[in-house]
Symmetry: C2
Subunit: 368 residues, 2 copies
């Protein structure tokens, strides 16, 4: 293989691919990026066996071929290089890199040892507006379980039904659900996408100017297509819990408060809650205010009081402070709405701007 | 004690003091900040037993007294607090903190358990222009030893002789020396200041607008006074090596090159040098260019070539890349001058802008 690529173009494709590379992997080739030159097109691929990314760039192809090179060393060489273009020429399983000021020889691994990244399935794609998809994914991506005790909970549940897309995630302590109206109808499908994959999709989308994303699923695989970048991932097998019953149908007490003030109040009390199990803070809904108390710990205790519009009565209820902050971090409202029935049933957290989003937190046992 | 202080003022004094606090300390009171209210003045102090910092702020003193409070929790409470002022009231060894939205009770430790920070010695201060002192300290603070094998090398050597101040540091592999002309004559003194102290002084000076710094030393202690902030430190005992003989009196070969190009070239080759002991890179001085080669390692090798004005002949010499980058990072010249005699004696690195600064690196053994 012999190719010449603009430094800025290699930097871009390495930025897209190199994060997927496993750093503590037992299979050395997974630390490498696959570079493949074929029919005037140069493709860069990386995979950690769960998620695979392939993206293309233009360049001069003098000789077709392929090789895998260590992602870290290749990225360091390219990012530190301010020359206009870089030539990559293979010599067995090594590559010579040349630009006007710099030369390097990097030892690689034969392309044959690189795992196959699944092709894009030959099926009808679901087309979604990119910025709506990103905004929606972020709102649910805070909620999946981070451990693998129940594998299905470590994913984002995606349901397509006609022109409705529902995204949901829960770690069984809190739940986030977001509904999206699509521009046209698509075949019904239910998928559980690993949250690791969703985080990669979000990262890559944030650097792309494309207006749309295409999603294609088949045979327990899912593909996300953004321009000429393809993210392929396995789906999580199993059936997602029927979470809809957890969302309270009605609420007695409604509390409206300023977003920024609630953030400060919860943060402040959670500083003192760190010692206690579950990062426990207690909300006291008053007649026209909301107090956040930290459970007293050895280090001390704190109390924050903010103004609130309250209807339906007073209440005391305890939550994990981190779950409240996760919700507050993903919405951009000036005001937020909290809904409760009593101190032992789920609290409902809502964004006024986005009525199609709901966030539920299970209360902690009230301390006596 | 009962005091009320503006939030912005507490934030400022905690910023100055709280970095000195030991986090993994076996003496719990060292994790605390001492707050002392006396005669309408409020003082905050922190110490790790080597360096002690005391700084003052204004506030309303309703009741004199003192207490120590955990630096981390106190800082978190103050930094997250956007209210205008905070009241601190002691109750035994605890303190109640109150502002318009927040209340906290923080458990502290009695002030009597806090170590004494030495008073400012009653001697004539040396007065130095602040920005000149900062710029000069930075240029030598890269060179002291980071281990304690030879305690004197873990410090910055400061020599006052009439109106001359000399700063020097060496870890025995490289040496930095900077001379400063003072505005008046002072009594002669030689001191070795722990580099930990110098780093604190630099950090604190960077946030201060004062034009001058005062230095007072007595009884193997040194005090730095900046406005109403006092940094007290022990001095390192022992005699500093007679380093002057290490600086080559003359050089056969002179190389002038662009600062930015040398930075890129050394960085690039050092990427590949990481595997090799000592971060070894080889400089090849040509007729009108300078090449930087990495020693070939398992991962690969690199070569960078930049233009240079060379006089006195060609040469090959090996250095630890990090030592070269340390020099390049502290100077702000467009061009740098390198001087050599042969491949086995010290290389001299100079800034054109600052003829009073010299940086020496001992070469590594050339590989055959």
């Amino acid at each position: 293989m012999k190719v010449t690529i603009l430094q800025s173009n290699i930097a871009k494709v390495l930025g897209t691919t190199s994060r997927v590379v496993g750093s503590r992997t037992t299979l050395p080739v997974l630390s490498n990026i696959l570079i493949k030159a074929e029919k005037g097109k140069i493709k860069f691929s990386a995979t950690d066996l769960e998620v695979g990314i392939t993206t293309g760039t233009i360049g001069k192809v003098d000789e077709e071929g392929e090789i895998t090179l260590p992602a870290k060393l290749l990225s360091d060489f390219v990012m530190n290089n301010k020359d206009e273009s870089i030539e990559i020429k293979t010599e067995g399983t090594a590559a010579e890199l040349k630009s006007s000021h710099f030369e390097a020889k990097i030892q690689g691994i034969a392309a044959e040892e690189f795992p196959t990244i699944p092709e894009v399935p030959n099926a009808e794609p679901i087309i979604i507006d990119k910025s709506l998809f990103v905004e929606s994914l972020k709102k649910v991506a805070v909620a999946p379980a981070t451990d693998e005790t129940r594998p299905v909970l470590a994913g984002i549940y995606m349901v397509i039904d006609d022109d409705n897309l529902t995204l949901a995630a829960t770690d069984s302590y809190r739940l986030a659900e977001k509904k999206i109206k699509l521009k046209s109808k698509f075949a019904s499908v239910k998928m559980i996408v690993p949250s690791r994959t969703i985080n990669e999709v979000l990262r890559i989308l944030s650097g792309k100017s494309d207006a749309e994303i295409k999603i294609i699923s088949a045979d327990s695989q899912i593909s996300f297509l953004i321009g000429d970048t393809h993210i392929a991932s396995r789906l999580i097998e199993g059936s997602y819990p029927n979470y809809v019953n957890i969302i309270p149908a009605s609420s007695k007490i409604t509390v409206k408060t300023k977003h920024s003030e609630l953030v400060s109040a919860v943060k402040m009390s959670s500083l003192f809650a760190k010692d206690t199990a579950n990062n426990n803070v207690k909300m006291m809904v008053g007649k026209s205010d909301l107090s956040i108390l930290s459970a007293a710990s050895q280090a001390g205790s704190a109390k924050s009081k903010i103004e609130a519009e309250v209807s339906g009565g007073e209440l005391g209820i305890s939550f994990n402070a981190r779950y409240i902050l996760d919700f507050l971090n993903v919405i951009s409202d000036d005001k937020v709405t909290l809904q409760f029935n009593d101190g032992t049933t789920a609290g409902v957290f809502r964004s006024e701007k986005d009525p199609d989003y709901v966030y539920i937190i299970m209360p902690l046992k009230l301390e006596s």
